[in-house]
Symmetry: C2
Subunit: 162 residues, 2 copies
Amino acid sequence: MTVTPTDPPALAYSTENCTVGRAMDVLGERWTFVVLREVFNGVRRFDDMRRRTSMPRQVLTNRLATLVEQGLLRRVPYQVPGARSRHEYRLTEKGFDLYPVLIAVRDWGDRYLADPGGSPVAFEHRGCGGEVHLAMVCADGHTVTDPRDVMTRPGPGAHPAS
Amino acid sequence: MTVTPTDPPALAYSTENCTVGRAMDVLGERWTFVVLREVFNGVRRFDDMRRRTSMPRQVLTNRLATLVEQGLLRRVPYQVPGARSRHEYRLTEKGFDLYPVLIAVRDWGDRYLADPGGSPVAFEHRGCGGEVHLAMVCADGHTVTDPRDVMTRPGPGAHPAS
DNA sequence: AGGCTAAGTCTGATTGACAGACTCAGCAAC
DNA sequence: GTTGCTGAGTCTGTCAATCAGACTTAGCCT
């Protein structure tokens, strides 16, 4: 019996059509981000991820499956000489585009949760070597430093009742 | 019996001292981000959040409590005339600093998960009116467009074994 | 044939999500 | 001065998810 009778996950906790809610449907599971961090770090294989994160096998299986299903990862076959062919997990473009989120989370984590020694990883710009961070910019090119300078407006797809 | 005998949450799934893992200890619960979205949108009261998100009361109670405990929100008393005094939830600075994460998530969600009509919210720069997005920049001021231009290096607080 | 390994699946116990009913404090109206 | 209303919860029971540990499977190698 290979069929898992899990009924379709069916997008949950979204306020109407809020894309943040929807994104959290995809990303909100506990371990999802940790998996993505590993993949961004170049860890692509099941057991490597398991060893590094010590997450339960089944959860990893599930997360990888969901991420593949959602189009964030794809399975790519590979073969180490003298071993049977297996597959590893790589980012799709949709997955790659989560990079800013990862950096945003890391920036925040570094500021508030790092050990006294500092962050265990650094992201540097290939070529110039400068450390990479996130910035909020507006369409006119201004850099926004204070969130209070950002106004939330209804967008084109806003829900009528509010 | 008012004492809930929940043992301290005790940081879980972190690879060593990875700040992404730690951040996800704080942010990784399903509804946390949805709560933060509401607070950033100016929704500060229990029942308003509940009405807008239709999340279970108890979960909201728990999330708010964890967020207060983690120092992302603080409870502020308020009083509507002719009603008893209550309290609402406001962002602390630590909470405010999550704004880039929220925008990063929204940017991604808008790109891949929006309705055909587009995003239901827009963030605009107070003053100039331009739409606010996130950008990756390096210390030398270059804007990074491709994640592949970012190299991950061990940082100052890297764990020895790897 | 037997062993090894990566990537799983199966099973059962603990934890968390969720819904619905109940509580509690203060104001207001009767 | 008791009844009712409202916001912000708590209590209880059910159902799903997490987790750990043992088992499985496919291919290669000796």
